[in-house]
């Protein structure tokens, strides 16, 4: 058994254990134990990875395991990680761990809730360890489908509508993706003899340019739907607003990262020429995502909607940076994914906790919460500051790297767009500070709010885990950026070799 497959096996075993449980009260304990173990495994993986790199292992992917699955189509179950996937796996295990504690008090169908949640996590972990496009796609769909039940059963508001919209749009994305992947597969070998789904092997050949032009947009948009690419982002606000807390955390924190990661690892890495040629279209779309998302967040009155639009904006930034195709910007994109994953999970977690107390998410109906629930409020401020890019927290590191990298692009168009994008920081500050001012400061408007209890122990675990990580990245970013940058190097080299610009 290799260490990477354990990341799929542990969730599956946890699910099996939950299924066998008779007593529903133990379900959350088992889930927390399983996902805690997963978090521990992620730490072990980081350690093993770093020590392997220190020992001088310069392979593109480490811990590679390859099992032939469908011989006639050359489909493998192949796993392997580089610094980028290790970072994403760590992010996932953190968010899932926090998510379990944030949903400690699920009322109905506990067993089913945790099973669906962990099934979703299984898909995400499997996606990040795969280096075979087939298994990657399989895990991708596996991660999307539990969302339907999670939102539909345990959600709030127009949950059935939102769940259906989200599922169909994401599956629509994966439909485009499937065609793109098949196109890559059938062009993965110049003489058509040894077709392969293996990313590393495909990266050794150059897919013919006409095929790239056809399949790059399909693949990029396919992943882009999940990464909230304008105009395919509309599932995100509705979905996030209706989803239960832990699901919003996991979805905005992790699942949306599948889009960014896939766009980068599959679409751009394997088809860099078309990516360079067509990047202007997607740069425009992602810029709209960033700016429109930020303005959208200003106009919203519901806390979850604000955060959902802010996610659209931040994830748009990821896709934007990835399209710049240089070392700094792409490293920034990965850091942004991690940073946004942590802080948006934190946000959604906190919103869920506030909502659990005040029973409203409308900012106009709340006020002065700082006096009543100081712990949660302070955490909310920290999350907000991270989101608007305050130095010392992770958001700053990520955005700074992205903007520096994006401005390095030699062409004027890209620099102008970068300048426009930078303005989103200001807009972000507006909606974050506005919420903090209305929600937390000022007099307590509603007397019912005066005796709200502050965070319970399980909520504290959830929140502190995330805040700790956000601060750690902000204070010591070089650990992360070196790990990512080293792995980014061979990718950039390949892109530049094909696109001398």
């Amino acid at each position: 058994m290799d260490i990477l497959s354990l990341f799929v096996l542990i969730p599956v075993l946890t699910i099996t254990a939950i299924l066998l449980l008779k007593d529903t009260r133990q379900v959350r304990l088992v889930s927390a134990f399983g996902m805690g173990l997963q978090l521990l495994m992620a730490a072990v993986l980081v350690y093993l990875y770093l020590s392997a790199r220190h020992a001088g292992n310069i392979d593109e992917m480490l811990f590679v395991k390859d099992y032939l699955w469908f011989k006639s189509l050359n489909i493998h179950y192949a796993v392997g990680v580089d610094g980028i996937s290790v970072a994403m796996i760590s992010l996932t295990s953190l968010v899932v761990f926090a998510g379990i504690f944030a949903s400690w008090e699920v009322e109905i169908l506990k067993k089913e809730f945790f099973i669906s949640l962990i099934l979703l996590a299984t898909g995400v972990f499997g996606f990040f360890i795969s280096i075979d496009l087939f298994t990657m796609f399989m895990f991708y769909e596996l991660a999307v489908i539990p969302m339907y039940l999670l939102i539909g059963i345990w959600g709030s508001g127009p949950k059935e509508y939102s769940a259906m919209k989200l599922t169909l749009m994401l599956m629509g994305g994966s439909a485009l993706l499937l065609v793109g992947l098949l196109g890559i597969y059938f062009n993965s070998s110049p003489d058509k003899n040894q077709l392969t789904f293996n990313i590393l092997e495909i990266s050794k050949v150059v897919i013919p340019l006409p095929a790239q032009r056809m399949f790059f947009p399909l693949t990029f948009v396919g992943f882009g739907v999940l990464g909230a690419l304008f105009p395919f982002h509309t599932w995100s606000p509705d979905g996030h607003a209706s989803a239960p807390t832990a699901v919003s955390m996991l979805h905005a924190g992790v699942l949306m990262k599948l889009g960014g990661y896939g766009a980068f690892r599959v679409a751009i890495f394997l088809m860099p020429e078309a990516a360079h040629e067509l990047s202007w279209i997607f740069i425009i779309l992602t810029s709209i995502s960033v700016i429109y998302g930020a303005f959208g967040a200003i106009a919203q009155k519901d806390l979850k909607y604000i955060n959902a639009y802010s996610s659209v904006s931040h994830c748009g930034l990821v896709l934007f940076a990835v399209l710049m195709m240089n070392q700094t910007a792409m490293t920034g994109a990965i850091i942004q994914m991690i940073s946004h994953g942590l802080m948006t999970a934190l946000f959604f977690g906190l919103i869920g906790m506030v909502y659990g107390r005040t029973h409203t998410r409308m900012i106009s109906e709340m006020g002065g919460l700082m006096k009543v629930i100081p712990f949660l409020s302070v955490c909310y401020v920290i999350a907000g500051l991270a989101s608007l890019g305050l130095p010392g927290l992770s958001g700053f590191v990520a955005e700074m790297t992205i903007f520096v990298g994006a401005f390095q692009h030699p062409e004027l168009f890209y620099r102008i767009v970068t300048i426009i994008i930078v303005s989103s920081i200001v807009i972000t500050a507006v909606y974050i500070l506005r919420v903090i001012a209305i929600l937390l400061l000022g007099p307590t408007t509603n007397e019912h709010f005066e005796h709200l209890p502050d965070a319970k122990w399980f909520e504290k675990i959830s929140v502190i885990t995330l805040i700790g990580s956000v601060a750690a990245i902000g204070l010591a970013p070089f650990w992360l950026s070196t790990m990512i940058g080293t792995s980014m190097h061979p990718i950039i080299e390949r892109i530049l070799a094909l696109n001398p610009f």
Partner: protein
Amino acid sequence: MSLGTFLIMRHELLLIAAALIVLIAEIFWNPDKKSSISLFSIILFGVITIIGFLPSPAGPLFGGMYVSSGTRLLMKNILNIGALIVFIQSVTWLKKEENSEKISEYFLLLISTLVGMNFMISAGHFLIFYIGIELATIPIAALAAYDRYKNKSAEAGIKLILTSALSSGVMLYGLSMIYGTTGTMYFSEVASLFGNTSLQILGFIFFFAGMAFKISIVPFHLWTADVYEGSPVNITSYLSVISKGAAIFILMIILFKVFPIIMGTWQKTIFVTSVLTMTIGNLFAIRQQNLKRFLAFSSISQAGYILLGLIGGNQLGMASVMYYILVYIFSNLGAFGVVTAISNATGKENIDDYNGLYQTNPKLSLIMTLALFSLAGIPPVAGFFGKFFLFTAAAQQGFYLLVLIAVLNTIISLFYYLLVVKAMFISKNENPIGSFRSDFSTRFAFGICVAGIVVTGFASVIFEAIKNLSFGV
């Protein structure tokens, strides 16, 4: 007739023997224990199914009118598995008071359709093919009218017999043109004498239209929903899985073996009909309230996806079609099994009736979900692999546009499959279907279906074995 001849025709001969044994056995059966005939028939058929997998000689018989090969044996075995599941699922229903007088007829008729299908698949001559297809259709019409005191059931029987008569007429007309231009009815000779003249193309189109009736490809699908709704559920599931599967198998063989010369023509035909079938099947399924009609339209759209495997005329395509039919048997019979179980217990067949089913019957809901996800092609169940291979087969020949249309269609289909999931898991209901426990046979059939849905995908040996037996144009 030597022993070798018997062995080559093993499937057909055994089935005929079984049909006769069931018929004779009924005469001597203790009238008080009539319902145990079904157990006897199932065991008999189960043995035949197992014998079918034993190695067997292959080759032509009767001067090439009958051909047996590894591929065709595999197709027959796939059909046998499906029929066995249908048989097991019918036990509960056959136990009912009104059916107790005609149990052996049920098995006799179903087994004779299976004989017809086997002959059809093994045909090396259009005459045998035609006899097979008629033998496969007419008893089904009798079965569709099995509940003959119900108006809808009688109507279904009449509709089925009339449409299949029409489709046979259309097909025979096409075959006569093919005969007129080539002077032969042997598959191998037609293949070598076939040209590209307009009369021959016309003959082919008529032949294809006739087959399209059997597979219920749009625009020849109009009989499907009514017949499916009116027939007893078990007959519906048999029609939607086994009959359809057999017709697709023989269409595939004939396209690949007899008409390779006009491949360009039939690729265009299939392209158009496939797009129409998927889209119209899916769009109509959205509006259905009755689950049998719902599954009827879903099975129409499934036929559209299956055509994607045919269009390339490649080995991978044939393998993926056979594989998909196997997966489809498990998934569709799983879904129909749930409908049957609930219809037997409560008589309810509407989607609204399923509201809140998860509260009272969690296991049935989970099986239904699994089956529907498999039909929709959601991983990690077998339907995902089946669809993926079908799409790969079409993409291999460059039909990317068709694949794109097909995958977008799977999204539409996901929508209405999720509507059922929503009804079972999310929708509230004041008085949901009461909790009940199915009897052993139903649960046994579910066991087979669920195992099939889960295992067929992951176990790559199954696909590889099928692939090794397939061939391209």
